[in-house]
Symmetry: C3
Subunit: 400 residues, 3 copies
């Protein structure tokens, strides 16, 4: 099964306005997916499948998650990979997936994506997902791990620690999980501050006494009722512990699930943090960013440390990914933009992220060539930078 | 006089890139306009007409409101309905309108829209507008009423009530106005919180004692100087009274007139309210939403209760309505998007809302078919969902 | 050397979809650049040149500012003006510029822009820039000055004044610099409140006692350590001093350099100020506005006093300038939109601002004609309004 190629929304080639030819700048270029998750291990029925097509808990009663840009993309572009005709009906799609089996279906879909390595956050609801070794076998490419700082902090709390020792214990555990010899290789840290307290918090490193006091308030609540870590001081302690490792720090920004207030996930709110990180030389990777990707692109232009993607949006917005990426490239330096799928749960999202990204960026570059805004040699260079070279430069460690 | 058809900005058909044919998915599909207002009863001179072409008080001195995307749309698409050539000069347009008479002109323009029912907010500056019976006769379609909660609250205050009784009096009056037997049929409640206090208020239901205290502060000011209701506690009381009816609650968000701070009308600020409404099963209808329609679309994806439109923007932005609707459909599930014109005062806005919506959504679906992203059968289904089926599903009551 | 003409992103003419002909509505129309800066006087090496291609301090280590939409625009459109082929390599471009000499290169680039007058803010880092007389000679067009209020305030402080006298001294100095007889002619005042305190400050005119108290706090810090003026009360005093001159007040909004928090430069935050300025009849000129240009456009629609541009974005976003301008024209009345380049340092930015603006607006109008949304006569009128007539109407003074 080979990778299907969507006509992108406005490709001059696909519209027959310029001759088709060797201008598909992303063809054969392996992608580094610098931020994604693993895929569900078990078989999925239709409600289970639909629940993973939305960032909500599932479609509203009386509606289907297939009736969305993402849903139509699955039917159009994933169905043929599983041997169905394009636009297969939702029930047929889910049935065919079950018939093939989740493992083989995942294998087919992920391998069609043409990704060359995956950097995976495995710290969120991982119980139902393939472990990283299995994910590597399924995808057929090397897998590195992104250490989710809030998950580490909660693990430290759950393992038992007192408030005075909490700060150092988190530092030690992050050090242990990011040590060079750990397998799978830890390539970055990540924070979901946006989900937990919003990005509009004081960005400074908290003092040890503040951390101890905040831990004193949270740890009993964690022990008693499993309270999620939402304390800004402890979240900031996690972020600065991550920055101290020197590994790139991934930051969730922009849209995601219902646990966040979207306007408090605007990456522009990270300007204060970026000012503090700038002299450290630690890369700050702003994930997703949509619908604030123009704001994120500005940060990528004015701060050396800031890098950006429009990951999660790409599979979701379907053919509109071309417009979204074009908006990001208005201000973002091309050396600061990375590819990611942010796929979670469904291998379909891994495929659609890659397929839409190729069509979108390839289509933009084709058009830039067709209108003589850029030379074909430069277009090829830019395609490769964004597809993988920027990731290879920014991530000092890359799984092999 | 039949409905004119604009070539939409980038229709493949209109550009001759695909053969014209039976691909106009909105042709002949009646629209449910789930949020609009009535039209001016009296004749309008040119300043009076221009004042209704802008959300401001009127054009700036030395300028004309005809020199705008909306103004050019009137000249291009409404002029032929009144028997003038396309692009008629502003003076000619206003003169022709007067010659025909406001009533017949309104009748011609509204009936050209192809709307099948109107849900009307008649609680704002209604003195100069046609009553709802006359509006029904003019438009030739059934009319339901959207009960504007702040207008009810002010009526209750003006009828005389003491602070202790205010809360219950509002509840009783909302119940009376939304009773099943009332004519015109009450189909929804609506809040203009964005205009009165901003959407960034505590979303919780206030306690009766809070309501009484706030009423104690406002009622004397209302009696003495006609003070508009802007108290957040009383506004929240109105909202929760509306939610308690079980009818869909329409919420003004996004751009509107000069009485609001635009950034405080960002629908993302309603995330807290949406969390509270989600378990109730009451539909939350986010109106207008532009330029925050991508944020609104996210809310529609992650909350079952949230539904969205880009009403007011559609007539205003003219040929760009296609781009705006495309942006909304990036994340919004197709079963959560509704049509509305938000037309106020001018029947031209009723026509332009419908005409632009048909061209925009039809054009997007045509293109999705032409690029094989969606099948024609699905395109037809999606067109009908957004044009009227979603409204019929969400609004338990629909005027007949 | 004549002005090169870029095919705009989707010009129907350039795509051969409509016959080329006398439809280039901006051809031969001189532009009033109502907000720009001067150009660097000295020769630039490659790092010096690249530093001026970004709003940051320079490209990130290991990357080039040429790898951006702006960088590719320089290579494509400026290279031929200097006698190089399109897409010249960055090193060749910088070498050719040095070979010609900065003066002659600036002359060639600026004169290719087809600007008919320049309104220049010369109050920011002007030491390394051409003086305004030299700029006038280089550009070959009249130059007016925009008085930067914060620079005046700092000059007043540096000249020595006590806290009690500060307020009046600023008033006197602004009056002196904006007097009708001053050369170059002062045409407007400007505030960079967004950089100094954010736009989300109380917009009211401060009381004299507040000003004296704030001056008392700032003046010693200014004297001792050169503290930049960031006090909101003193910034507001400057703004109201500017408004009192009756000259248009330019306000930096939207993206700029790293000294600002982008979300606090959202022009929607100026709604309160606009309400206060509206009765005064003083034009409020919202500069740049991107990525909040849709919000700015709404302000321009609902407030008579508000005017808008997308200056800085135009050269930066390259072929996407057409989309950005289209977004602004969704709501902005066409009589309220102005041209500006916001060029700083590089004459390339003066050329690219003009060249992209012509292609973008011309292309939009061409398409509006081709789809019969607007008549050619109206398109020509709108082109001229935005290119220069609106500026001539709003600026009571214009350099000659």
């Amino acid at each position: 099964m080979s990778c299907p190629t969507p006509p992108d929304g406005g490709s001059l080639v696909s519209l027959g306005l310029v001759p088709a030819g060797p201008v598909s700048f992303l063809d054969g270029v392996g992608l580094v997916d610098h931020h994604c998750h693993s895929v569900v291990a078990a078989d999925l029925d239709r409600p289970g499948f639909e629940a993973l097509l939305t960032e909500g808990a599932g479609p509203a009663p009386g509606t289907s998650a297939f009736d969305s840009s993402l849903g139509f993309s699955v039917r159009r572009w994933c169905a043929p990979v599983l041997g169905l005709p394009p636009h297969a009906a939702p029930d047929d799609y889910v049935a065919r997936r079950a018939e093939i089996g989740t493992g083989p279906a995942s294998r087919a879909l992920m391998r069609a994506a043409g990704t060359e390595s995956l950097l995976v956050d495995h710290g969120f609801a991982a119980e139902s997902l393939l472990g990283l070794d299995d994910l590597r076998d399924t995808a057929g490419v090397p897998v590195g791990e992104v250490v989710r700082l809030e998950a580490v902090a909660q693990d430290v709390a759950d393992a038992g620690v007192d408030a005075a020792g909490y700060g150092d214990a988190v530092v030690a555990e992050v050090a242990r999980r990011t040590a060079p010899g750990v397998r799978p290789l830890a390539v970055a840290c990540k924070t979901v501050l946006a989900y937990r307290a919003g990005l509009d918090v004081d960005p400074r490193r908290p003092e040890p006494a503040e951390v101890a006091a905040a831990a004193d308030a949270w740890l009993p609540r964690r022990a008693a009722e499993g309270a999620t870590l939402r304390d800004p001081v402890l979240l900031r302690h996690g972020i600065w512990t991550g920055l101290d490792t020197g590994l790139p720090l991934q930051v969730h920004t922009g849209f995601g699930d219902v646990d966040e207030d979207l306007h408090r996930a605007d990456p522009a709110l990270l300007t204060g943090l970026a000012r503090l990180v700038e002299p450290l030389g630690v890369p700050l990777m702003l994930l997703h960013t949509y619908p604030y990707h123009r704001q994120a692109a500005w940060l990528a232009q004015v701060f050396s440390c800031v890098h950006v993607d429009v990951s999660l949006a790409v599979p979701h917005v379907g053919p509109r990914s071309r417009d979204v990426i074009a908006e990001m490239l208005e201000l973002a330096p091309f050396a600061k933009v990375l590819y990611a799928s942010d796929a979670y749960g469904l291998p379909e999202l891994h495929l659609l992220g890659a397929l839409r990204f190729r069509a979108a960026l390839g289509g933009l570059l084709e058009r830039a060539c067709a209108t003589d805004e850029i030379s074909p040699a430069d277009a090829e260079r830019v395609a490769t930078m964004i597809a993988r070279e920027n990731a290879r430069r920014v991530y000092a460690r890359m799984p092999a």
